[in-house]
C-alpha cells in the first residue's frame, strides 16, 4: 500500500475552498480586527494593510501587504488566513506562500503588475482565488490553476450591483452551456476565450469545477443573502464590516444571514438596529479608470 503523503494536490487545494462554503470571509487590517471577525463567526479572514474603500480613496500603487502585518494576523486567529497579491506578480505570491498563508487572492483590488498575464497558479502549493466578471474569465483563471473563484463586483463601493451582474453572468452562462449541443461547445469556448475541456465539463455538470463566492460591494445582511439566493457558495465582505458604525454586530449579522439565506424572518431579525452601513458609491459615477473590475485579462 502506498503510504506516501501527497501535499498540494488539486483535491487538497479545492478542498479548503469547499470547507469555506456557506461562510463569510472578512477583510481585516489588524490582529484586533481579525479576532473580532473570528468571534463573529468568519470562516476565514483576508489580511490587508488597507481595505478597498481606503485604497480607492487614497489612490497610488496598491501592493501586497507588509509581511509583518500578515504574520501578526496569522498569529491572532485559528481560522484560515488569506492575503492578496497583484495580478501577475508571481514573486509577491512566492512571498505569501513562504509566509504560510492558507490562500492567495490574485486580486484586481491591488494595482496589476502585468497587463497581459496572470500567475501560473499550478506552480504553487498554496491554493489561489481569483475574481471574474463572466464565465469565460472564471474558466481562464481555473485553467491557470485557481482553486476558487469569486465575482469581482466593484470593491470598496458598498454597492452590490456589480456583484449581482457578475454572478448572474457566470450562472446564466452555465445554464446556457447546458442547453447547447456538444458540437456547439468548441465554438462557444472560442467565443468565451475559455479552455475547451473546462467548457465541456461545465456543460455536462452544470456547475463550476471549483467553489464560487460573491465579492465586491456586500454591505448588509440582505446583500449577502441576495448573493446566496442567486446561487453562490459563500461571501467575501471587504470594506462593508470595518467601515460600518458597529463592525462586530454587522459581522455577526452577515454571518447569520449567509447561513439562513433562505429564511427572511432571520434576515429581518439580524438586520435590525445595526447602525450605519458603510457609505456607498454609485458605480455609474465612477470614471472608467476608477473601476477595479476591469483589471484582469
Amino acid at each position: 500500500m502506498a503510504e506516501e503523503k501527497q501535499v498540494a494536490t488539486w483535491r487538497v487545494k479545492v478542498g479548503l475552498a469547499q470547507m469555506l462554503k456557506g461562510g463569510v470571509i472578512m477583510d481585516v487590517t489588524s490582529a484586533e480586527e481579525a479576532r473580532i471577525a473570528e468571534d463573529a463567526g468568519a470562516c476565514a479572514v483576508m489580511a490587508l494593510e488597507r481595505v478597498p474603500a481606503d485604497i480607492r480613496a487614497q489612490g497610488g500603487v496598491a501592493r501586497m501587504a507588509d509581511p509583518e502585518k500578515i504574520l501578526e494576523i496569522m498569529e491572532a486567529v485559528s481560522i484560515p488566513v488569506m492575503a492578496k497579491c497583484r495580478i501577475g506578480h508571481f514573486v509577491e505570491a512566492q512571498v505569501l506562500e513562504a509566509l504560510g498563508v492558507d490562500f492567495i487572492d490574485e486580486s484586481e483590488v491591488l494595482t496589476p503588475a502585468d497587463e497581459e498575464h496572470h500567475i501560473d497558479k499550478h506552480q504553487f502549493k498554496v491554493p489561489f482565488v481569483c475574481g471574474c466578471r463572466n464565465l469565460g474569465e472564471a474558466l481562464r483563471r481555473i485553467g491557470e490553476g485557481a482553486a476558487m473563484i469569486r465575482t469581482k463586483g466593484e470593491a470598496g463601493t458598498g454597492n452590490i450591483v456589480e456583484a449581482v451582474r457578475h454572478a448572474r453572468a457566470v450562472l446564466g452562462e452555465i445554464r446556457r452551456l447546458q442547453s447547447m449541443r456538444p458540437e456547439e461547445l468548441m465554438a462557444e469556448a472560442k467565443k468565451m476565450g475559455a479552455p475547451y475541456e473546462l467548457v465541456k465539463e461545465v456543460a455536462e455538470t452544470g456547475r463550476l469545477p471549483v467553489v464560487n463566492f460573491a465579492a465586491g460591494g456586500v454591505a448588509t445582511p440582505a446583500d449577502a443573502a441576495l448573493m446566496m439566493q442567486l446561487g453562490v457558495d459563500g461571501i467575501f465582505v471587504g470594506s462593508g464590516i470595518f467601515k460600518s458604525s458597529n463592525p462586530y454586530e454587522r459581522a455577526k449579522a452577515i454571518v447569520e444571514a449567509t447561513t439562513h439565506y433562505n429564511d427572511p424572518d432571520v434576515i429581518a431579525r439580524v438586520s435590525r438596529g445595526l447602525g450605519e452601513a458603510m457609505p456607498g458609491l454609485d458605480v455609474r459615477q465612477l470614471a472608467e479608470a476608477e473601476r477595479l473590475a476591469t483589471r484582469g485579462w
Binding site: 498540494a8 478542498g15 492558507d102
Partner: protein, 218 residues
C-alpha cells in the same frame, strides 16, 4: 425510509448530501433546532469548527443535538465535525458538544500548504468492502486537519496514519474522522455510518463533562 440529517450551518454539507443521495438515502439539511426531530442519524460536516460551533449555540442546536445523541442516535463528525464532538480540544475557547471521549488537536498538521492526502488501512470497513477489493486502502483527504491525541475508555481506534497518529475513532454510536470521505468517490465510510444507523450497538453511556473547553450553553 431512513432520513439522515446534515448540519448545514457552514462547510461542505452539500458534499455529504450528494453522497447520501447517491446511496439512495434521504438527506435533510439541518439549520434549526426543530429540524433535528425525526432524524435517524446526523452528520456534522467539515468547515470551520469555530463558525459551526458559534452558529450552533446561537440557533439553540447544541442541546437538541446532545439529546439526540444521548437517545442513542448515530452521529458522525468529519474534520470540524470531529472537533465539535470532542470532549477536549486543548486551549481553544469555542463551543463543543463534548460527547466523544477524546482529546483532539486542531490544525495538528500545520497550515494549508501542509494539507495532504494519503492511503489508509481501515479494517473496520471490511463489512462494506466487496471481497474482490479487500486490500483496497481508503484514500483520505486531510485539510488543515485535526488529529486525535488521546482516547478515553470506550473509544475504539479505526484508523491511524503510518506514523501512528489516530485519525478515525468510534465510541458506540459516535463516529469521528479527521479527514473528509465526502471529498472522494469512495462511499465506504458513508455506508459504514448507514450500517450504524440500521444496527445500533448497545445503549448510551454518558461521558465526562467538558473540562477545560468551553461548555456550549444557549
Amino acid at each position: 425510509m431512513t432520513t439522515v440529517g446534515v448540519l448545514a450551518l457552514q462547510g461542505d454539507f452539500r458534499e455529504h448530501v450528494e453522497v447520501l443521495a447517491r446511496l439512495g438515502v434521504e438527506a435533510r439539511e439541518v439549520r434549526r433546532a426543530d429540524e433535528v426531530d425525526g432524524l435517524d442519524g446526523l452528520i456534522i460536516p467539515g468547515g470551520e469548527s469555530t463558525t459551526i460551533g458559534r452558529l450552533a449555540v446561537k440557533y439553540g442546536l447544541v442541546e437538541p443535538i446532545r439529546r439526540f445523541i444521548a437517545a442513542g442516535r448515530p452521529v458522525w463528525g468529519t474534520c470540524a465535525g470531529l472537533i465539535f464532538l470532542a470532549r477536549d480540544i486543548g486551549g481553544y475557547d469555542q463551543p463543543l458538544l463534548g460527547v466523544l471521549n477524546v482529546v483532539v488537536e486542531r490544525n495538528a498538521f500545520g497550515r494549508q500548504v501542509d494539507s495532504f492526502e494519503v492511503d489508509l488501512s481501515v479494517p473496520a470497513l471490511a463489512d462494506v468492502t466487496p471481497p474482490e477489493e479487500a486490500e483496497r486502502p481508503f484514500r483520505a483527504v486531510f485539510i488543515r486537519a485535526p488529529a486525535v491525541k488521546a482516547v478515553g475508555p470506550g473509544v475504539q481506534v479505526l484508523a491511524r496514519l503510518p506514523d501512528g497518529t489516530i485519525v478515525a475513532v468510534r465510541q458506540e454510536h459516535i463516529l469521528g474522522t479527521a479527514f473528509h470521505p465526502e471529498l472522494t468517490d469512495d462511499t465506504r465510510f458513508h455506508r459504514y455510518f448507514l450500517q450504524m444507523i440500521h444496527a445500533p450497538v448497545g445503549g448510551w453511556r454518558p461521558v465526562t463533562t467538558p473540562t477545560n473547553a468551553t461548555r456550549a450553553e444557549e
